[in-house]
């Protein structure tokens, strides 16, 4: 891909188990705090209570009386992140109504019609209330945000499994470059869900303790929940408004392994292709990268492939996984990690890769073990997904830190 013009990011919102907004998340990350425990919102009959990274039942801004919310939790997570991002960008409803604003959100749970209580009643030959289905039909994550803020631009929910959040930001930037929108809210959201929990347990890729990305003792992932949204701005809007940006989308690449439904390709072909595309679109070289935010789920296969590709293509570039803090938030993961990557560029340091303590002799590269100062104006964030999707973003620091 040829060079593409940078797209300004003027607002960020993020929430997950370790923080109800981006600042809180970053404080936890730098302090090395995490919260991993057996699920509270649901129970299961597994022999092991696989631990998760769960948020409080009430999300930021919600009151007790919202106990019967008319939206799925996934969409409410997305809305909370969108509100924070818009407020961070200093945007009011009146500003938005004059603009063509698109929404693109990644999810997995938010698009699945799998209400367990409804289905159990249906199987027993009862006539269940249709409310859960109506709620599902109202809760498409991108559509819910567009409706809440009365937005009129293109709207898309990306369902690329665990790379959805990364894809949504990359595609949102492409909408801006193509002139389809003045502003795009791009990100991802996913809630913890018993159905998904059973799914990951059945794949035998969950850790019975807090996850340990890239560690020799790693046994799998912890599921998590959360959301993140970035405000992307067109060049002309950014010039006219001349507000400070929080960073830039410099490049995006994606490619499919075309190998297996659930296993990553051992040679990392798709990931390498996605990295090459993202770098070439950004006009940056490996030497320009300050650090890499790896996918690093803590599963044996994922971390093996990723560390091989990192050591082969980006030797010496410091990297970390933030999954130890957030758990694997599926469709939100890429968006949360993009938000963290931007915050790290701003602060010129990255947190320790929590959960890593003991190097795996089989892995040619290991993540950072302490808070590490970084140099440089851009970083890479990558996601690997079910179905063999690989998606990569190159993100740039705001002017004055990097050299956009």
């Amino acid at each position: 891909m040829s060079f593409q013009s940078p797209v300004a990011i003027t607002g960020i919102g993020a929430l997950c188990a370790v923080g109800s907004n981006l600042n809180e998340c970053m404080e936890s990350l730098y302090a090395g705090r995490r919260k991993v425990a057996a699920p509270g919102a649901f129970s299961s009959s597994h022999g092991t209570a696989w631990p998760v990274c769960e948020m409080a039942a009430l999300l930021p801004g919600e009151q007790e009386q919202d106990a019967e919310p008319d939206l799925l939790r996934t969409s409410r997570l997305g809305l909370a992140a969108a509100r924070e991002a818009l407020s961070d960008a200093g945007l009011q409803a009146a500003d938005l109504s004059r603009l063509r604003v698109g929404v693109i959100m990644g999810t997995t749970v938010g698009s699945a019609m799998n209400n367990e209580a409804f289905y159990r009643q249906y199987r027993q030959g009862e006539h269940p209330e249709m409310a859960p289905i109506e709620r599902y039909l109202r809760s498409n994550p991108a559509a819910a945000i567009a409706r809440a803020f009365a937005l009129s631009g293109p709207c898309q929910t990306v369902v690329n499994a665990c790379s959805s959040g990364t894809d949504a930001i990359g595609l949102g930037a492409s909408w801006i470059r193509a002139g389809l929108c003045d502003l795009v809210l791009a990100g991802g959201a996913d809630e913890l869900c018993r159905v998904t929990y059973n799914g990951f347990s059945s794949l035998m890729i969950t850790d019975a303790g807090p996850c340990r990305p890239f560690d020799v003792r790693r046994r799998g992932l912890n599921l998590g929940e959360g959301a993140a949204v970035l405000v992307l701005e067109s060049e002309s809007l950014h010039r006219d408004w001349s507000r400070n940006e929080r960073g830039w989308v410099l490049g995006y690449g994606s490619a499919c392994d075309a190998y297996h439904l659930t296993a990553p390709r051992p040679d990392g072909l798709g990931l390498k292709k996605a990295i090459a595309e993202a770098l070439s679109g950004s006009g940056r070289k490996v030497e320009d990268l300050a650090f890499v935010n790896a996918h690093g789920t803590g599963t044996p296969d994922n971390d093996r492939v990723e560390s091989r590709v990192l050591s082969e293509l980006m030797p010496g570039v410091p990297f970390l996984s933030t999954k130890g803090f957030t758990g694997h938030t599926l469709g939100a993961a890429g968006a949360l990690e993009a938000a963290f990557t931007l915050a790290c560029l701003e602060q010129a340091r990255i947190p320790a890769s929590i959960g890593f303590g003991c190097a795996d002799p089989e892995l040619p590269a290991a993540p950072v073990t302490e808070v590490t100062e970084i140099e440089g104006g851009c970083a890479l964030s990558e996601s690997l997904a079910f179905g063999g999707n690989n998606a990569v973003l190159i993100l740039g620091a705001k002017r004055g830190i990097g050299c956009v």
Binding site: N160, A258, L261, N389
Partner: protein, 347 residues
């Protein structure tokens, strides 16, 4: 930049292939089959346009389909059909992208996964059902089977899934991220969806007629419709060109219909959306509707694109016989929540 339509891959109640859809567009409408589902203590047999994926034998071995469910088989057949129709089964898979829209994803498998742990306990949750219930399973199976290592993208937002998927497919080609894109829509009719339809709408009121906007007459459908797309000049535009796709909200004045275009309306017999089509300013403008050929399903707009492509190829505004002349074609989908998707095509 215009985008060439090189091939069509279609499977639905009308059969398999472009000729089968063309036959239905000419007025030889398929008779619906039946979808059986429990209804309380009873069971109901509702009319539904069902798809048969037997022709997949032409393209892949039975063994390779071992773990692939009906939903992904329909998509796989659509994808192979489009490549075959374009004579590009040997297309360079390194530069081939796959973009799939679906309203509900693999719904039957989603519920089969729930069955696995409801019946036998959480520790007997089926990993095969779980993996195939993920919304991007169909795109993944296509990419894997074709060894397509370009971008693979799945999107899902009910009736707007296809216009939205198309938006990104066009961008992929315009940005030179791929040389060809397999763009498709797929949805299945399963028992639970049948039950929900029955609860929401009851039985269809009278014969299925999507142009009778005031009446709830929708008959469910399932299937897959795929288009093989490339940049103008890089492939034979056997079915004309896609010019543009627009999405937005009707009430915010974003919907502008191009002059001199005939309309393919995405109406599919639902009263709630019918009202919106009824209030369109389309007096005097030729408009047609093809849902009777494939049924009512969220990715109906993918079949409308295929029907428009056939109209362009044959220079005939189906189901009639009149020539398109110098008119372009626009496929317009309206959703009950007030969103629209507008795709313009020309010869």
């Amino acid at each position: 930049m215009r985008i060439a339509i090189e091939g069509l891959g279609l499977v639905g109640g009308f059969g398999f292939g472009a000729d089968a859809l063309r036959n239905a567009l000419k007025g030889n409408l398929p008779s619906p089959g039946t979808l059986r589902f429990p209804y309380g203590d009873d069971s109901i047999e509702a009319p539904a346009f069902m798809a048969d994926t037997a022709p997949l034998d032409q393209f892949v071995t039975k063994r390779s389909l071992r773990r692939i469910d009906h939903f992904s088989r329909m998509a796989l057949l659509g994808a192979y059909g489009a490549l075959d129709d374009a004579g590009r089964l040997d297309s360079d898979p390194a530069r081939l992208a796959v973009v799939v829209g679906s309203g509900y994803g693999a719904s039957a498998t989603t519920f089969a996964f729930l069955d696995s742990f409801i019946q036998d306990g959480d520790s007997c949750s089926s990993p095969t059902h779980f993996s195939n219930s993920v919304h991007n399973a169909a795109a993944a199976h296509i990419s894997i089977s074709l060894k397509a290592t370009g971008p693979s993208l799945s999107v899902s937002q009910f009736e707007m899934s296809v216009p939205s998927a198309l938006l990104c497919a066009l961008q992929m080609l315009r940005e030179n991220r791929a040389d060809r894109v397999l763009l498709g829509g797929v949805d299945e009719a399963c028992a639970v969806l049948g039950y929900c339809r029955q609860r929401f709408f009851g039985a269809p009121q009278g014969p299925f007629d999507p142009l009778d906007f005031g009446r709830q007459s929708a008959v469910a459908g399932e299937g897959a419709a795929f288009l093989l797309l490339s940049r103008e000049g890089q492939g034979e535009a056997r079915y004309g060109y896609l010019n543009d796709v627009q999405m937005g909200r009707i009430d915010q004045g974003g919907l502008r219909l191009p002059e001199k275009s005939a309309l393919v309306l995405g109406a599919d017999g639902h009263q709630g959306c019918g009202r919106l089509y009824q209030s369109l300013p389309i007096q005097g403008r030729a408009h047609v509707c093809h849902a009777q050929a494939y049924g009512s399903l969220p990715v109906g707009p993918a079949f409308d694109l295929a029907a428009a492509a056939l109209s362009l190829k044959d220079d005939r505004l189906y189901p009639g016989t009149e020539s398109l002349g110098d008119r372009s074609l626009c496929c317009l989908k309206l959703a009950e929540d007030g969103n629209f998707g507008l795709v313009s095509l020309s010869g």
